[in-house]
């Protein structure tokens, strides 16, 4: 669910950097999720659910 302006991936990463230390935390958490996803099926399914909420069916 996004507003009518689409921030875009690059824009979101830039926004995280613009958030200073707090923003950096977002990136750390994101990479944390990625690493966890390699080892845990539960994490992978959670990630898929998050994607689905954002863009509908992620496998399109």
């Amino acid at each position: 669910m996004l507003s009518y302006l689409d921030p875009g991936t690059g824009g979101m990463i830039a926004a995280a950097f613009a958030g200073g230390a707090a923003g950096f935390g977002v990136l750390i958490r994101m990479y944390g999720h990625r690493i966890a996803g390699v080892f845990s099926k539960k994490h992978r399914s959670e990630a898929a659910a998050a994607r689905a909420r954002l863009v509908g069916d992620a496998e399109d």
Partner: protein, 481 residues
């Protein structure tokens, strides 16, 4: 997003319901309708819920009281507007619409401050602005006013601030470009309704600003990240991952604070421009100036209390100030020199004079209509309906510097549809002589009083005229034919 019936587009027959404002279509959740000076904002169910949420907050009420947000109230009984809407707001009318490409540096900075402070206020109470366009701010006199009440929405969990890029494009990058490179942002903003993209700003600022606050993050890194992830959505949905990792209010507030600091840290070395010293009016004698002021004051009082006086070539704003002192409710002071307009804005702001709106406008090339179908942002002439136009110490420049024929100058004045006070410097005026000396002799033989008066009388009826004591300039007060 709730599906919504499309409202009729603005090609509807004239006797039908009011057409939506051509500048309000970008956010599908609401549309603005303006008719007979009444401004209505139609809201979808989602937008109505967002409005109810924002109307309940303390920051919004405080901003309304300060006049930082345009006067807004919920209409009890929505009147018939094209489309199906859940609710309707009525806004106070902004008399003279003005756009960022007509503002000076300090005006854009003040608008940026307002945008950021509202976004932070909203954030603290669980809301956010869904965009950050400088077109959401209007100057009413010297006061920046946020007009896009539809911009506030309830914040979704994990969602980043969608306005970040737009803030950079339409506020921060123009300010950087002006402060660091002395490139006038007005022409760039006029050239693109989207503003200055991160990539363009990075190119313009290349090799500079190593120590300028925020340039590295908001310009370079921003441009780089966009380039790097331009095609990332296909290979991996980083966006979903980022939202899952969560942009909390703390991150967004830190981002907004960083932007505030970047905006405050800017300083623009204003160079002395050709016109900066004009305010001293070296080539006017005291007697001439007094006579001129008296003439203008009389023209203003002849109308009673005009709503708007348009001052073309306003320079230090002396005659705009005179107009409001003589009873005008407001004045719009335009000048092509952005340094002069910036100085005037800061002077007026310091004096607490709110009735005068200073704008950057080149009379020989006034703001055209831009944006979608060339209708989104109308031209300057379409936006202003003055009750009196002042055109002092301008005609000889238009005629002899810009080579505009006299009858064209008169036609331009007539476009505003209002009585005019216009000054015509004769051929033997000192300034005119200086301008003529640059031209091949004989080229401007038609620049004389009889030719001017013939042109003037085709479109106007001269009510009163007076030669200034020095004998080299004539003032005319005329009504449109």
């Amino acid at each position: 997003m709730t599906p919504r019936t499309d409202p009729a587009v603005d090609d509807a027959p004239a006797d039908a319901l009011p057409a939506p404002d051509p500048g309000s279509f970008r956010d599908p959740l609401s549309r603005v309708f303006v008719q007979d000076g009444v401004v209505l904002r139609a809201l979808s169910p989602d937008a109505l819920a967002d409005y109810r949420a924002v109307a309940d907050t303390t920051f919004f009420q405080a901003a309304l009281e300060r006049g930082d947000v345009v006067g807004t109230r919920l209409v009890d009984e929505p009147v018939g507007l094209p489309g199906e809407w859940a609710g309707m707001l009525r806004h106070d009318l902004v008399e003279v619409l003005n756009y960022p490409y007509e503002w000076s540096f300090e005006m854009l900075r003040d608008a940026a401050r307002l945008q950021l402070s509202l976004a932070r206020g909203a954030l603290a109470e669980g809301l956010i602005t869904k965009d950050a366009s400088s077109y959401n701010v209007q100057f009413v006199g010297t006061k920046p006013v946020f007009i896009d009440v539809g911009s506030f929405e309830r914040r979704q969990r994990g969602q980043p601030w969608a306005g970040y890029r737009q803030f950079c494009e339409l506020y921060l990058n123009p300010l950087y470009v002006q402060a660091m490179r002395d490139i006038a942002f007005q022409t760039l903003l006029r050239g693109s309704v989207e503003g200055i993209s991160p990539a363009t700003a990075a190119a313009l600022l290349r090799g500079t600003g190593r120590f300028q606050k925020g340039v590295f993050t908001h310009v370079r890194l921003h441009a780089r990240a966009e380039r790097r992830y331009a095609d990332a959505d296909r290979e991996r949905d980083v966006r979903a991952e980022l939202m899952r990792a969560g942009f909390g209010p703390k991150v967004i507030d830190a981002q907004l604070r960083n932007l505030e600091r970047a905006v405050e840290a800017l300083s623009w070395k204003q160079q002395r421009s050709t016109w900066s010293d004009y305010g001293e009016r070296a080539h006017y004698s005291e007697r001439d100036l007094d006579a001129k002021q008296e003439f203008v004051a009389e023209a203003v009082s002849a109308i009673g209390a005009p709503d708007t006086v348009l001052d073309l070539g306003a320079n230090d704003g002396r005659f705009s100030r005179l107009a409001v002192a003589a009873g005008a409710r407001s004045a719009v002071a335009v000048d092509s020199d952005d340094v002069v307009v910036d100085r005037l804005y800061r002077d007026l702001r310091a004096d607490g004079e709110r009735r005068i709106l200073p704008l950057v406008l080149d009379l020989a090339d006034p703001s055209p209509a831009i944006g979608w179908r060339s209708r989104e942002r109308p031209s300057f002439v379409e936006r202003i309906r003055p009750d009196l136009t002042l055109c002092l110490a301008v005609v000889h420049h238009l005629a002899l510097t810009n080579n505009v024929p006299l009858d064209e100058i008169v036609a331009f004045l007539a476009d505003f549809g209002a009585p005019v006070v216009v000054e015509f410097p004769h051929r033997h005026d000192r300034m005119t002589k200086r301008l003529l000396a640059r031209k091949r002799s004989g080229l401007f033989d038609t620049y004389d009083i009889p030719a001017w008066e013939r042109a003037l009388e085709r479109r106007f009826v001269v009510r009163q005229q007076a030669v200034l004591p020095n004998g080299t300039r004539t003032l005319y007060h005329c009504d449109v034919r």
